[in-house]
Amino acid sequence: MTATSFRARASQGATAGLLLALFLFPRVASNYWLDVFTSAFFYVILALGLNVVVGFAGLLDLGYAAFFAIGAYTTGILTTVYHVPFLLTVPAAAALAALSGVVIGAPALRLRSDYLAIVTLGFGEIIRITAKNLTLTGSASGIYGIPRPTVFGHALKTQQDFYYLLLILAIVTYLAMRRLEHSRVGRAWKYIREDEDAAAAMGIDPFRYKLLAFVVGAVVGGLAGTVFAVRMTAIAPESFGFMQSVLILLAVILGGLGRLPGVVLGAFLIVLLPEAMREFASWRYFLFGALLIAMMHFRPEGLWPAGRRKMPQSGRAALNGGDGR
């Protein structure tokens, strides 16, 4: 057996073992830990979605929680006010998230890449403040009494039900992302991230693919939001603030920009680290901030080993002259 095929088998074995452990986990875990892991699966999905924007396409999005909010509120409002069945709210939430992705992304992405960070930051705050002030969204107290969903005849009620639902959704999202990464579209994102001018010289329209990345990310965030709404049965604007966006971004950067196993690792870290240091609860964000700065300094490629990736960058290399002249 060659070294690479040994490594491939070892990692396949590790993955299978990990999945088995996660499927058996509810047999041994308390409800408290089921809850923690269900949250981790949420962050896995969100981080995988944001990774399309930040990791694959190399753009900076500081307001990703806005799409999470749009999905959650769409499902919250449709199920409580209009009594639409949960499953029918899913396509509506995806469509609305995609639409807002286009509306926000199209003007911002025509400008230089760094504007996207500013525009998304503003968008995130606007969504939160709007949700806090509209009667439709329940103002500051939010929406409660969101009915528990019935999925294909099976009513989801217990913590275990949601644990398994989120575990399966996280796995499906992961597999979908892997397929996207190794496709024509995924390559186009990588080309643009590595060298936008060279990609354009090969007939790839950078704007179009950046917008596509932004919209795909938005849809994943929106879908996570719909599930979040029915799991919590109550949602409030404060779940979708700037810190939420930063946490998701932190998961993407911690694990390793663009590399999917790293992103999953990052998502688990941002949920499990605060659990591990509960005494320092009020220091949580400070510790995260310090961690992030340390990462940028010592391991900018993320915690996941091998395969260097660059941080998202703006600006272009010189088009004329040699050696950067």
Binding site: A176, R179, L180, S183, R184, V185, G186, R187, A188, K190, Y191, E194, D195, D197, A198, A199, A200, A201, M202, G203, I204, D205, P206, L212, V216, G307, R308, R309, A317, A318, L319, N320, G321, G322, D323, G324, R325
Partner: protein, 256 residues
């Protein structure tokens, strides 16, 4: 038929006139060269033709159509490929993946095809890889297909950039100083490659080149620039001997 026509083209950066009222035409199926001292505006001219710079005035026609002001990706899709003076590869990606970028315009699979791995998508992917391998083989890089582009030796990186450009199946290929930094043997191989690109692939070539022996050896048409202006145009034997061209290059040597 004229493949590329440039008419009264000007480019200004603030007070700096980089291209001044420039007109010339290159017939289809020709190997042509742009020559001129450093800073004459040759690379800027490539950037204008391929849509990376917008002209201050004037017009560019390609295969009879006006392409002035089109974005670079649209220009590429119309059949104009280029390389960069300072080699712009996707460094962390493999040689094959680099060439695959050029197959983008000739394939169509989108997000849904990728998520469901449709038969059409898989067929297209296999075809694109085959086509990319052919382009690599054409420049002699078939054995390094899986190496990451950044780790290839310099000469191979130059060739890989050419393979990527011809995989676009352009009508015209613009090469910005392809021989820079190559040794004499590599230069001779490059001259052969340029001729094979024209003869076997029927792609016209324009190169920016400082090596006058290479220019005389491969090109049929030469445009000489100095300070953004055309100082001579015609067959290499005439242009290289033209007094203004000799003077422009002498001036450069005197300066350093």
């Amino acid at each position: 038929m004229m493949l590329l026509e440039v008419e009264r083209l000007s480019l200004r950066f603030g007070g700096l006139e980089v291209i001044r009222d420039l007109s010339f035409a290159v017939p289809a199926g020709t190997i042509a060269s742009f020559i001129g001292p450093n800073g004459a505006g040759k690379t800027s001219l490539f950037n204008l033709i391929t849509g990376f710079y917008r002209p201050t005035a004037g017009e560019i026609r390609f295969a009879g159509e006006r392409i002035t002001g089109l974005p670079p990706s649209a220009v590429a899709r119309r059949g104009l490929a280029r390389t960069f003076q300072n080699i712009r590869l996707f460094k962390t990606l493999s040689a094959l993946e680099n060439v695959l970028s050029a197959l983008h315009p000739r394939t169509r699979s989108g997000v849904f095809a990728a998520l469901f791995r449709t038969p059409g998508m898989r067929r297209e992917e296999a075809w694109a890889r085959e086509e990319a391998r052919r382009a690599l083989a054409f420049v002699g890089l078939q054995d390094v297909a899986d190496r990451s582009a950044g780790t290839l030796p310099y000469g191979h990186r130059r060739l890989l950039e050419i393979a990527r450009a011809i995989a676009l199946r352009p009508k015209l290929l613009l090469l910005d100083e392809p021989a820079a930094g190559l040794n004499p043997a590599e230069k001779a191989a490059l001259a052969d490659l340029i001729r094979r690109i024209r003869d076997e692939l029927e792609i016209g070539v324009i190169l920016i080149e400082h090596d006058m022996r290479l220019v005389a050896n491969v090109s049929e048409h030469v445009v000489a620039l100095s300070y953004g202006e055309k100082i001579a145009e015609g067959p290499p034997a005439d242009v290289l001997r033209h007094p203004k061209v000799v003077e422009a290059y002498l001036g450069e040597e005197a300066v350093g």
